[in-house]
Every structure is written in C-alpha cells, then in structure tokens.
Symmetry: D2
Subunit: 135 residues, 4 copies
C-alpha cells in the first residue's frame, strides 16, 4: 500500500546505515497501528459500557499519537540523530505495549479491541527489532 521502501531508495544523499527492512516495517506497522488505535478509541466511546473501556480508549489515544509521530520521524533521514530516533522508537514501543495490555482484556467482547491489541503487538515488535539495530 505505501511507498515507504521506494522513498527510502530515492533518498538523494549519503545516509546513515540502518537496517532498511526493519525501518520500512516499523514505519508501516506504526501507520497501521495509529489507524487501528484511533478507530478503537472511537469505537470504545460508542460501546454500551464505555465506562469499562475508558482505560482502553485512553491508552489507544496515546498509542495513536506516538505511532503517528514514530512513523513521521522515522521517514526523515537528513541530519539523522540516532539518540533522538532511539528515544522516539522506545516511546512508541512502550505506548503500544501499554495499549496492548489495556485493549486485549476486552478482546473477547469487542472485536475492535482485539484488532487494536494485535496492531499494537505487531508495532511494538517492529519497534524492538529496529531498536536492536539503532546503536
């Protein structure tokens, strides 16, 4: 769906050596996770027992913001600062893990929480894989 890998290859200057596959995957999973989290927080608000879903909705709002920011920051290579990248990816990983724990509890009753938890799990995994190579 996205042109992440093509844009990476089109970068016109010498650039920091990163694990390209891990980078592309992390950006893609972050975009997918952000969308799922945004939609899940919204679906929680429409659920009959929204008061039980307040924590899940809150965690999803935060994970959505972090996943969007992670995808955007990782899409830029000029003046790449590995320390900045590491802390951003780390923050995204922690927020996704927190949202995973908050939404999977409701996964049996709410399909949107199940999908969101899975998207967060995949995104957190992609963040950890990228972090392993960001020395």
């Amino acid at each position: 769906m996205t042109d992440v890998a093509a844009m990476l290859n089109a970068y016109p200057a010498h650039r920091e050596v990163i694990d390209d596959d891990a980078l592309v995957l992390c950006i893609q999973q972050s975009l997918a996770c952000a969308q799922a989290c945004d939609a899940c927080a919204d679906a929680c608000l429409a659920a009959p027992d929204v008061s039980h879903l307040a924590e899940a909705a809150s965690a999803a709002r935060v994970a959505a913001d972090l996943a969007v920011t992670n995808a955007r920051v990782l899409s830029r290579l000029t003046g790449f600062d590995a320390e900045v990248a590491r802390t951003v990816v780390k923050a995204c990983e922690v927020a996704c893990r927190s949202c995973f724990l908050a939404t999977r509890r409701h996964g049996l009753e709410y399909e949107h929480c199940h999908i969101c938890a899975e998207a967060c799990r995949r995104c957190a995994g992609a963040c950890r894989r990228l972090l392993a190579g960001l020395t």
Copy 2:
C-alpha cells in the same frame, strides 16, 4: 497492510451510512500520502539544489499534516458530523493538489518528488470520490 476495513466493520453501534469502500480507500491513501510527503520534504532538504526545492518541500510538509489529520478524523465515527468531515476532506484534497503541482515539476530529476506527486494524486482522487458521497 492496515486493518481499516476490519475496524470499520467492528464499530459497535449504529453509524452514519457512508460509502465504506470510498472511506477505507481515502484513509489508506491518506496514510500512504502522509508518509510519502514527510519523506519527500526530508529528501528535498538533502538534495544538492535544495533552494530550488523549497516550495516542493513546503507543500509536502503541509500535505503531510493534512493527510495525517484526514486519516485520523475519518477513522472516527462516533458523533459523526458530515459538515466537519467534508471540510477536512476538502482541505486534504486541496493540500494534496497543491503538493502534486509543486513536486511533479521536479519528478524527472528527483525520484522522491515523482513518488510524492503520485501519492498526492491518488490521495486527492480518493478525497474527491469520498466527497461525492458525503452529502
């Protein structure tokens, strides 16, 4: 890549009748466009003749912000306000069209501008298709 359609189907309440295919496509194209625009603005900064690309980079920054916002707003259905949706999709369409014009000029020399222009063209098209059904 994304769970856009699955999340739409998991929405737990009665919801506004929208053209679901057009909605899913618009969200997906907005996410892809945002990423391409973010990366293109960054690649412009690394180009040897960045001064000639300043306008393209600026247009890409704006289109990236609008495309992200469009994807996020369209991912939410609770309390759906058609007038709000229309103006957001319209703003995204205009920003993508503006970025398309600014980047396609450099498409022959810069692959990242070519990819960005194409992503903007597709996103603007998906916005127009969605707008046609948002009465």
Copy 3:
C-alpha cells in the same frame, strides 16, 4: 507565552501580505484550543456518566486534531498557498464550532466542558477573522 509574533517578524524572505495580528491570534488560539480539547476529551472519559459525554469527547478529539494542524500550517509561510490556508482554517473553524455545540451543553455540570467550549468559541472566532482577510 509563545514566540509567534517574533517568529513571524524573523521570517527571512519577502512574504505574502496577511493581517499579521489576525494570523498571530489564530495560531495562539488554535494551540490553546487544541490543548483544552485534548484535555476535555480525556476528562470526559473519567466522568461518572461518560456515556452521556461520548459525543462531546468525540467532537473534542476532532477539534484538537484540526486546531493543532491549523496552528502548524499557519506557522509556515514559504510557498504560501492561500487556497490551502483558507480550506485548513475553514476546517478548523467548523470543527471548533461543532465541538462548541457538543461541549457547552454540559458546561453547567462539567467545568472541563465549559472551558473547552470557550476555547473553541475563541478559536472559531479567530479563524473567521483570519478568513476575512485571506482573499
């Protein structure tokens, strides 16, 4: 609190003639509105009768996203495209108006809805003032 006016004066190139006071005010009100809306959507989730506040929380989420985007886009002058600016400011104005209507209803019971409605009212007003000069 912000350096909006100082940054405007520090812009190093010839730029589009806009009503500077209206521009600075619109950026400042958008930032304040975004923060109030983000906090209000969160406070709604913590309220005892959150199910009655679902629409207010949803409207506040959308207005927060639009207000942030408006402030960011208006902070950029390079390659300024008046049509883009107009549609973004318009989308922000409509989203703030929608949130104002959704939150002021709860203003007597919930202080956070009252503050949010006021912030939206001021932001929508600043948007209209800026729009009047964006020909």
Copy 4:
C-alpha cells in the same frame, strides 16, 4: 494564554499525584516550542543559504513533532501510565536538545534560529524538571 492549569483542576476524577506546576509548565513550553520549531523549519527553507540550514530545519521538524505529541499526551490523565509518560517526555527532551544544538549555531545570522534554540532550551528544561518528579 492557555487554560492548561484550569483544565487540570477541572479533571473530574481522582488522579495520579504529579507535580502540577511542572506539568503545566511542560505542556505550555511544549506548545510554544512546537510552534517556534515549525516556523523555524519553514524560515530555514526561505533563507538564501538553505543548504547550510538543512540540518537545523530537519532537527526543528523532529522537535516540533515531539513537542506537539508531548503536550497532547501530558494533557491526558485517564489511565495515566507513568512509564509511557516518562518515555514520551524523555523523547521530547532529547529532540529539543538536538534541535537546540542544531539551531543555536545559526543564531547570530538568523533570528528565527535564535528564537527556536531558546524555545527548545526552555522546553528541554521543563521536560527535565517534570521527569525528576515522574517516578
């Protein structure tokens, strides 16, 4: 300018004990910093020797995204997760420090870089003060 403190006081439920003054200041400085960074990245694109400012513009783009995200995440208290908050504030602090170093170099020639560096310095300081109390 903002209603940050008023919104904090209007939160309708028992909430995590945080240093409220440090929280309010960090949100306000993050909003101000985001605006200054967004405007500085744009002003860099309009400067006659933009190629020398590419790194400053890139650092400002990243710091703007992190500062916005920081302000938004910190504006929410429901389901507050101290580990998430710490990593987000840390990422903002690191990005602001990186942008401070990249922009202050150009502070003598470019007023917008000077203002941006100062906003980043204040924001990073507010982040460190908040972090000290987020145990």
